[in-house]
């Protein structure tokens, strides 16, 4: 029997549970993960962990699914692994579930699968289980992915904003804004998209490195939706401390700053997929910076501010010219503006 693929696009029958479903899973999806990941197709997979473990899940609906520097597949792997890593856990296993819209190209699905495989290798995680559903044309955005992840804790305590004390140091691991602005430019078919690239990457090496600080490490978070502004506000919200940050200390690539200016956006509010925000004790600030600088992804890391008792619950920004104002949560939709 020849293994020719008769179908070039996903049809509803691919999700019916019948022969075409079997073909999609066995001929298209499974070959990417056979051997390294799930050894055989089964209803569930077995694994074991030692000690404290973390579990997380996230669903990826990025529009468009392909953008410069990545696609929904790499995002779905790195995003979930990063959620584990910032809790001080080494990502170990993932599940992978697709919701695919009827009519989606199988060639593009393969591109996504290839990125998933490559990202899983980069992040040293195994994909242990998967699922595929098909929705009728018009009922989905091409392809959505859910991944759940399990990781083993490499520290013996929980990182939390409640551990932050006055004077603690705030660090940002890499230049801000690349992912969100790239996706926006790709979605709106803006010419600038060709000069841009998403920063989508595994943050675990950076997180592991900072975990060597032990209890001096207070809290970590990946600065995804809402960007640095959202994360900083989340950290400070309803706490007895506030955060003071200095605008000119944030690492921002000039190219990204220019793109944000053109579109009327604020880089601090734009999503990232490869940027870590960490809070460490005042004394550990320079050591933490050294640790970040020693990793490829952290070479442009900067100290951006400190925790203060002066403005509990608030984030205060010192602007480039030395003005001071509240750094608010991002509001509304991220759209290109002319005004």
């Amino acid at each position: 029997m020849k293994h020719e693929e008769k179908h070039t696009h996903i049809s509803l029958e691919h999700g019916s549970g019948g022969a075409l479903s079997k073909e999609l899973i066995e001929k298209v999806i499974y070959p990417f993960f056979q051997g390294r990941d799930f050894p055989e197709l089964s209803d569930s997979s077995c694994f074991s962990l030692q000690g404290r473990a973390f579990i997380t899940t996230d669903t990826y609906v990025v529009d468009p699914p392909f953008f410069p520097g990545g696609n929904i597949g790499s995002l779905a792997v790195f995003g979930t692994c990063n959620d584990l890593a910032v809790c001080g856990a080494e990502p170990r296993y993932l599940t992978l579930a697709f919701v695919i819209e009827e009519g989606f190209s199988i060639g593009e699905l393969k591109k996504v699968l290839h990125s998933i495989k490559k990202a899983a290798e980069d992040a040293h995680v195994k994909i242990l289980s998967g699922d595929t559903k098909v929705v009728p044309s018009g009922k989905g955005g091409g392809i959505y992915i859910n991944t759940a992840g399990v990781g083993e804790s490499i520290i013996s305590f929980n990182l939390s904003p409640s551990r932050i004390r006055e004077g603690d140091t705030i660090l940002v691991s890499a230049p801000l804004g690349a992912h969100g602005i790239t996706v926006l430019a790709a979605r709106e078919s803006l010419k600038i998209a060709s000069s841009l690239s998403s920063d989508c990457a595994s943050l675990y090496p950076l997180c592991r490195s900072l975990c060597s600080l032990g209890e001096e490490l207070r809290f970590m978070r990946d600065a995804t939706r809402g960007g640095a502004a959202a994360i900083l506000n989340e950290i400070a919200e309803s706490r007895s401390f506030g955060l003071e940050v200095v605008e000119s200390n944030f690492p921002i690539e000039k190219k990204i700053a220019a793109a944000a200016d053109i579109l009327g956006l604020n880089v601090l509010e734009i999503a990232n997929e490869g940027v870590l925000i960490a809070v460490v004790s005042e004394n550990a600030g320079s050591k933490a910076l050294e640790l970040l600088h020693s990793k490829p992804l952290g070479q442009k890391a900067c100290i951006v501010g400190r925790a203060t008792s002066a403005y509990p619950g608030m984030v205060i920004l010192e602007t480039t010219v030395g003005g001071r104002r509240v750094l608010d949560l991002p509001r509304g939709l991220l759209l290109p503006r002319i005004c």
Binding site: T319, V321, R325
Partner: protein
């Protein structure tokens, strides 16, 4: 080169020196001063750079009517929504208009993802959009003199190319008639205008001469970087101290005395001045721009038989006073309580460059 310029325009030492001069001038003048930044992008730039935090106590910056979204009547949005409901067409718009609610509280954002509302960054995208199908495309024509020529050039091209499925729904506004209206308002409450930088790129200095007449106020054309803004404010204070009311160009790297005649010619070829309804200000004579008779086939209002645009102000909202500088955002009983950027009531909270939204988002530190 551009980066060096930008860095210099954010330089702290220059800022410090300018603030020192501003403080001296403000002290000399002594009394309470209100400076109206006409342009919404100025409002945002002032707030974002935290300039409010070091202005002397006797200087208050107030926002004017220069946010196109804020001055677009709710009835315009109502008509745009009815087009989507009643006609088989695509609406094209700048991202700015998406969140603006009509009188029923509904905005165009409910059509995101339906493919019926297309967000464009540049009007030049309209031609290829129209050429890619037969379906009518209606462009929501908002903006001031900076934006109008860009749209006019595209529609003139569409005319030459015989494109017949592209339509314009104009709600354009022009600045000088609005300045005249503000200036002659009986209870006017400001001492000077910070004039819009990019509108002035097109207009030049002449249209502002009305400010130099007796009873006028100083008007200083200003750029958008922190040093530009501080320099503009200082120029205003110096005029006020000397008792002058001159039109001054503090943005000479971008604005020529004669403006951009070519852009004005393109704008005036397609459009002609018309009386225009401003949200909050009412009808201002000759403050809008409508299609000339020759190009009337482009007019979406005529083609789709749209009713006249109605005014509507949400109950309790004082945006009308805010954009005339007669009230500050925090003097509104809704501000920050029933009306926030997430749940806006009035247009000044909807637009990110609206006075209320900018005041809320980039608030000063608690004392």
């Amino acid at each position: 080169m551009l980066i060096v310029l930008k860095e210099e325009l954010h330089d702290r030492n220059l800022a410090k020196a300018l603030i020192g001069e501003i403080q001296k001038a403000a002290e000399d003048i002594g009394r309470e001063l209100k400076i109206m930044e006409v342009c919404g992008t100025h409002t945002v730039s002032l707030r974002r750079s935290g300039i409010h935090s070091f202005l002397p106590d006797n200087i208050t910056m107030i926002s004017g009517p220069g946010c196109p979204v804020c001055v677009t009547p709710a009835g315009y949005v109502d008509n745009a929504l009815s087009l989507l409901e009643e006609e088989e067409l695509t609406l094209a718009t700048f991202g700015d208009m998406l969140k603006v609610p009509g009188s029923g509280g509904i905005s165009l954002s409910r059509y995101i993802g339906s493919g019926r509302v297309r967000i464009i960054y540049s009007p030049s995208d309209l031609i290829s959009m129209a050429q890619s199908g037969e379906k009518p495309i209606v462009f929501l024509g908002i903006g001031f003199e900076t934006t109008i020529p860009t749209i006019a050039s595209v529609f003139l091209r569409a005319f030459e190319q015989g494109i017949h499925n592209l339509f314009l729904y104009p709600a354009f506004k022009t600045v000088p008639p609005a300045l005249q209206a503000l200036l002659s308002s009986p209870d006017r409450n400001f001492d000077a205008f910070l004039l819009p930088g990019h509108v002035s790129v097109i207009l030049g200095l002449e249209p502002y001469r009305l400010l130099e007449k007796p009873g006028g106020v100083p008007g200083v054309i200003t750029g958008f970087e922190p040093i530009d803004l501080l320099g503009g404010i200082l120029s205003i204070l110096k005029q006020l101290r000397a008792g002058e009311n001159k039109v001054e160009n503090a943005y000479p790297r971008a604005v020529r005395r004669e403006g951009n005649p070519r852009a004005r010619e393109i704008m005036n070829r397609l459009l002609q001045p018309s009386d225009e309804l401003w949200r909050g200000l009412g009808i201002i004579p000759l403050s809008g721009m409508r299609l000339k008779a020759k190009y009337m086939d482009f007019d979406a209002g005529i083609r789709f038989g749209l009713p006249e645009i109605r005014n509507f102000e949400p109950p309790g909202c004082i945006c009308a006073q805010v954009i005339q500088g007669k009230a500050l955002p925090n003097q509104c009983s809704l501000f920050g309580k029933n009306c926030t950027p997430d749940k806006p009531v009035g247009p000044c909270m909807v637009s990110s460059e609206g006075s209320c939204a900018a005041n809320f988002r980039y608030r000063e530190l608690p004392v």
